[in-house]
């Protein structure tokens, strides 16, 4: 038999039919739904008098618009209507939903894995580009548009084409102070935001095997920022340990059968990828983005690059535009950039491990006086409860952070958590696009411990100077 990549195994096991031009009907096992990209899909079903194909495949939650303060009713009527529309649709179609107020509610990409609703060997879709997160479980997980959400609701399939395969191998031990977030940014800095376009990325190598599931999720989450619709990691003991006992995970004899199958979910020896990229993790340092694209990234001890040195016209103009938007000068030291707000959260970095890592830095320290607001937004109600049991909330609050309720929050500012024009943020989220966190806001992407260190210093600083 020909050796197969993990992606090819997942693809083959889900093809219902394939047309001669390569368009395939791919069966979808898990459909995650949130309030922003689903209302028009449900409406489309009703207009066409169509029903749901398989309701038990769906898990829904409200996350983008939900307030992170103690507010139980959303003040903005437009946001409120969107959340209520999701509640109505879930009631009407009998869909399991963790609504606002449910202690399991949270960011859709945090709660899926937390519930064991994301399992190895599954196809997972959601009307959200960061669905790539779930690939950490050796699932084929892809973000889709609203028309595709409707297509999956009505047919349980996705019309799609096979992607090319790309292996990103990261070898070596992660140096202290360097995290999965830095690995993700290093990869994007290396291959660019279009480097993975048309490809499904498999992350492999000893560094990846050494990551926790949380770290693998952070990495796969940002596959989309490298242009790849899907990112994935093979199953190993870490995967299986994480899943055991989760509410949706198989139990008893089914668990044994599932584990036996899941153990086959890795790329075969000798398989060829369309593209291979190799990184040595020992050379990765804590990173900070300086521009308006995640590929515009530099080491914390480095300087803002000089566009004058860029030979390509379009790229140079892009760098100049980014520096104007970010209000930065070429060759300025990254550690001289002062910050207004801190955001620790998002589907990239809001899990327990992320909060613990930030708390280690903040314990016994205080947020610098120039920081107007430091927010920590746990990824789910369960993450919040677990963090409180460990006393992490007390460490954050003592340092001067606000300890909030779960949701997408200031990653994209669809609720009240936003940057004002001109404000600069050290953010653990995934996108530093113009206006992403609020019109005119300036985002620098970093790891949770780097965000915590920046909060204490009031400017970017090498987190390694905080470690013993």
């Amino acid at each position: 038999m020909n050796p197969l990549s993990l992606y090819e195994k997942l693809w083959q096991s889900h093809v219902v039919r394939e047309e001669p031009d390569g368009t395939a009907l791919l069966y979808i096992d898990r459909h995650l739904v949130h309030e922003v990209t689903s209302p028009q899909a449900f409406e489309g079903l009703r207009l066409a008098s169509r029903g749901l194909w398989r309701r038990d495949s769906i898990l829904a939650t409200a996350d983008h618009n939900t307030p992170t303060t103690q507010q139980t009713v959303i003040a903005d009527p437009v946001s409120r209507l969107q959340v209520e529309t999701l509640d109505d649709n879930c009631r009407r179609y009998g869909i399991t939903e963790f609504p606002m107020g449910d202690h399991r509610q949270g960011i859709v990409h945090v709660i899926g894995p937390e519930q064991g609703a994301t399992l190895p060997g599954m196809t997972v879709v959601c009307g959200d580009s960061h669905t790539s997160t779930h690939g950490a479980f050796a699932a084929l997980a892809m973000g889709i548009g609203t028309s595709e959400v409707e297509h999956v609701l009505a047919t349980q399939t996705l019309l799609t084409r096979k992607a090319k395969t790309m292996q990103v191998r990261v070898e070596g031990a992660l140096p202290p102070g360097v995290t999965a977030k830095d690995v993700a940014l290093a990869i994007i800095g290396d291959i660019g935001t279009a480097g993975g376009t048309g490809h499904a990325i498999e992350f492999a190598g000893s560094t990846i095997r050494g990551l926790s599931m949380e770290g693998r999720m952070t990495l796969c989450n940002m596959a989309i920022e490298a242009g790849a619709r899907a990112g994935m990691v093979a199953v190993d003991d870490t995967t299986i340990r994480y899943l055991k006992g989760r509410p949706y995970a198989p139990k008893g004899s089914q668990w044994e059968a599932a584990v036996a199958y899941w153990r086959t979910l890795h790329s075969d020896e000798g398989v060829r990828f369309d593209k291979v990229v190799t990184l040595n993790s020992e050379t990765i340092e804590p990173l900070v983005t300086w521009g308006t694209s995640p590929e515009m990234v530099v080491v914390v001890n480095g300087r803002v690059p000089d566009p004058a040195l860029e030979p390509d016209d379009t790229r140079r103009e892009g760098m100049e535009r980014a520096l104007r938007y970010m209000d930065l000068q070429p060759n300025m030291a990254i550690s001289d950039i002062a910050i207004d707000k801190i955001f620790i959260g998002s589907c990239t970095n809001s899990r327990l491990e992320d909060l613990r890592a930030a708390a280690v830095i903040l314990k016994g320290r205080k947020v610098a006086p120039n920081i107007k607001l430091a927010l920590v937004v746990p990824g789910s109600g369960l993450v919040k409860e677990a963090a409180e049991q460990e006393g992490l909330d007390k460490i954050f609050v003592a340092a001067g952070f606000e300890w909030r309720n779960p949701g997408c929050s200031m990653c994209l500012g669809m609720n009240d958590d936003r940057l004002l024009s001109g404000e600069r943020c050290a953010s653990t989220s995934n996108r530093n696009f113009e206006g992403r966190q609020g019109a005119g806001g300036r985002t620098h992407l970093v790891s949770p411990q780097m965000a915590a260190a920046a909060a204490v210093a009031g400017h970017f600083v090498d987190v390694r100077t905080f470690l013993d």
Partner: protein
């Protein structure tokens, strides 16, 4: 879905690479539960000098005179000329909805992000990939010739310039068929409902833990 067969349209150039869907339609407009009405807020942060909010009268807002969509010569444009990795970032289908609502029918770029590219076809928009040197040439032509139009023929898969140059482009057969006929993909897929059910039966035997489980 609306059909697309051919188009002879005015071209508007957006000379930036990595244009993300947050720029195409900012987050505050994603709170709508409708599919229409996004056109006035297309490229909102670049197009207006103030900050847009849902429900505001866009006709009363100050326009950014430097932004291409606000220049007289590009009014009524139906073809958007762009650079590499257009439509990257968020999967929001509000981006093609906004382009469509504004009046854009086709996009030409050296590359598109995957999710955006797919979303275009679901809404009767045709995204065309041409080589970077051709894109460079087209940007120059548009800049030098007010009223510059291109003729797109989906059947022949060609883009023709007023100077007489002709560029072929590729599009997969299924997308082409759906666009030419304005077909609803869900209806097409449901013709294979029996195959989907047969597949489900097989999977329910080999991986029973996938089915019928809830928390």
């Amino acid at each position: 879905m609306k059909q697309f067969t051919s188009l002879n349209g005015l071209v508007v150039p957006l000379d930036r690479s990595n244009v993300d869907t947050d720029a195409i339609i900012p987050k505050q407009f994603l709170k709508s539960i409708q599919r229409t009405g996004f056109g006035p807020n297309l490229f909102d942060a670049w197009r207006y000098l103030d900050e847009g909010q849902p429900g505001r009268d866009n006709a009363q807002r100050p326009l950014n005179p430097d932004f291409v969509l606000n220049q007289d010569r590009y009014q009524g444009a139906q073809i958007l000329l762009a650079r590499e990795n257009f439509g990257c970032g968020s999967s929001r289908e509000h981006a093609p909805w906004a382009l469509d609502d504004y009046g854009i029918c086709a996009l030409i770029a050296s590359s598109f992000a995957d999710i955006f590219y797919n979303n275009c076809f679901k809404n009767g928009l045709l995204p065309i990939v041409l080589p970077a040197p051709v894109i460079d040439q087209l940007f120059q032509s548009v800049a030098n010739q007010p009223g510059y139009r291109l003729a797109i023929d989906l059947v022949a898969q060609t883009v023709k310039t007023p100077e007489g140059a002709e560029y072929g482009f590729s599009v997969n057969e299924f997308h082409k068929y759906c666009l030419l006929n304005g077909l609803d993909e869900i209806g097409l897929t449901l013709r294979h409902a029996d195959e989907i059910r047969a597949y489900e039966t097989r999977r329910a035997q080999s991986e029973p833990w996938i089915f019928g489980v809830s928390a």
